[in-house]
Amino acid sequence: MAQQLASRRIDWVGIFFAVVLTIVIIFPLIVVGTWAFTNVWRWPSVVPQEMGLRYWNMTLARQDVWTSITLSISLATMVTFLSAVICLPAAYAFARLDFPGRNVLFFSFLVGQAFPKFGLLVAIAGIFLQLNLIGTFWGVVLIQLVGTLLFMIWIPVAAFQGVDRRMEESARDVGASPLRVFWSITLPQAGPTIAAAVLLTFVNTFYETEGAWLIGAPAIRTMPVLMISFINNQPVIQYGAVLSVLLWVPSFFALLFARRVINSGSFARGFGG
């Protein structure tokens, strides 16, 4: 009886939060999604007059859209790969070794994030201009690599620090070399959290626009940069909407993958240590 009463009680606070979150998160998505599949939608109608795939056909028929998709994917992949190669050993060193200047260096990754990013980028663009890196693939790779350092150092450092040293010692004890310990014990233990960092890096790089635009323009146009120029230059809303939905696809798959790889505690562990 008491149980029935309890189960019938309505949780108004919960419902309130659900509604607010729905309005804030879902509603804009619905609007963008609707625009992407609208052929004609004139004021003051609440629903589109005509829906269809006309703008999808028009968008996907454009050569620059396809070039930018391939470019964005190869850029993000390359940046993530390089970032992992550079940052993971560095993160291990930060987590396990003690060397002079360790704390200053570690903190400097944060300081880089504290500057107004655009000012920093303009300064770097000046240097890149002299090195003939402006408007090149590798120029953009370099600039985006800088942006990944925070995630790819700080999260893996916490992940490596979270691995119990005695696990590593017991592996040495049964006969594993230090390298083997890293490969067979430390990396698998820190794996889920590092996977989270890699994923975040990929998604962040994929959507990065400031560096890509400042260093890459005009020759290198990534998908988000193309979308911005569509929105700025075209009076037709649908182009931007279609590209938004297109851009949403890779992050959706990334998150699906993330749900499989990452157990719920990993992100928290990565940030909390």
Binding site: R166, E169, G175
Partner: protein, 359 residues
């Protein structure tokens, strides 16, 4: 199956001497316990034998071979860690087989060895489980199996049962002792629990502040502690400060024969060696009496507010505030951190008798 020789090993952490000129020989198939309070350096000694710390000076030999500076993976030792330190991304069989895999043994041999050792530690058929599916005791058994399967010359155990509850701890330590004796492994065991040390060890090394206080058989250690520290650390010991003059110790209303030079001294009496006699008048009285079924412990307050414990048979009839006389039957008098005089059964008896007569 090996001899271990530790010769004058010192370990400095910065300027702190964690271990100070430690020397010990462990014979073939012997089980030695390192016993001491936390911070006494016992774990550091074990970690130096295992290769996880390098001695600042001194030599460690296993079967005559100098291993002082060898890496852990090159030593014929294996260690069972306090936190079991199982690799949670591997199955039970994966954990146990990892060391064998590193030795490039054929897969069939590995499987057989893993199954045998699982049976040895009482976990037959658990090979495919994940480590987090096991209870604390089972996890510690897996850690033990992981060490045993490599057939180490010396097995090191670093407070392996510290995280387990009392009953499990007692059962597991008996099993470990059985396995160690059956396989005749040379083993070193670190613990801060005296019960564990007394139950397991052939010999016990009592450590304090990085140095050895005493190395002895468990029964010897209990009966003939060489320093007041050992006396207080192993079992319960009543310590009474006093003065020796003219061959007699006086302190807290107790007078005893003590054929040593005059001066300050400490009297040490086990609760079971302290006899209580009811008395009509006097300064000593009972504070509390607790019956444990097999025996009872009586707290007595001696003159000068010195509190001591006496062990008496159950159903003793003593009550709080009752006036008593406390008579040591067997005692040791310490001076300058050494034994000054130790009574024998015969020498203590007349002293007690004379006191009884005085009553």
């Amino acid at each position: 199956m090996a001899r271990l020789q530790i010769d004058g090993v010192t370990k400095l952490f910065g300027s702190v001497k964690a271990v100070d000129t430690f020397a010990l020989e462990v014979g073939d198939g012997e089980m030695v316990c390192l016993l001491g309070p936390s911070g006494s350096g016992k774990s550091t000694v074990l970690r130096m034998i295992g290769g996880f710390e390098t001695p600042s000076s001194g030599v460690i030999r296993i079967d005559g071979e100098d291993v002082t500076r060898g890496a852990p993976e090159r030593r014929p030792t294996t260690m069972v860690f306090q936190s079991h330190a199982l690799w949670s991304h591997m199955t039970v069989a994966g954990n146990i087989g990892f060391g064998l895999k590193l030795r490039r043994l054929p897969r069939a041999v590995i499987r057989e060895k893993v199954e045998n050792v699982l049976e040895l530690v009482g976990l037959k058929g658990y090979g495919k489980r994940q480590t987090h599916q096991l209870s604390g005791g089972q996890q510690q058994r897996v850690a033990l199996a992981r060490s045993l399967v490599l057939e180490p010359k010396i097995l090191l155990l670093d407070e392996p049962f510290a995280s387990l509850d009392q009953h499990l701890r007692e059962r597991l330590r008996e099993e470990v002792r059985d396995i160690q004796q059956r396989l005749n492994i040379t083993a070193l065991f670190v613990t801060h629990g005296q019960d564990e040390a007394l139950a397991l060890a052939d010999r016990i090394v009592v450590m304090r502040d990085g140095h050895i206080e005493q190395i002895d058989r468990p029964d010897q250690l209990y009966r003939e502690p060489q320093t007041p520290f050992v006396a207080g650390f192993i079992g319960t010991m009543n310590m009474i400060l006093g003065e020796v003059s003219n061959g007699a110790f006086k302190g807290a209303g107790i007078t005893l024969q003590a054929p040593i030079a005059d001066g300050a001294a400490t009297l040490a009496v086990r609760p079971e060696a302290l006899e209580l006699k009811p008395k009509a008048t006097g300064d000593a009285h009972i504070h509390r009496a607790v019956d444990f079924g097999t025996h009872a412990i009586v707290d007595v307050i001696l003159p000068g507010d010195v509190r001591v414990k006496a062990m008496v048979p159950p159903m003793h009839g003593f009550t709080a505030d009752q006036k008593v006389e406390a008579v040591p039957q067997q005692y040791t008098i310490y001076r300058d951190n050494k034994v000054g005089y130790r009574s024998t059964q015969e020498s203590a008896a007349p002293a007690a008798k004379s006191l009884a007569d005085a009553e």
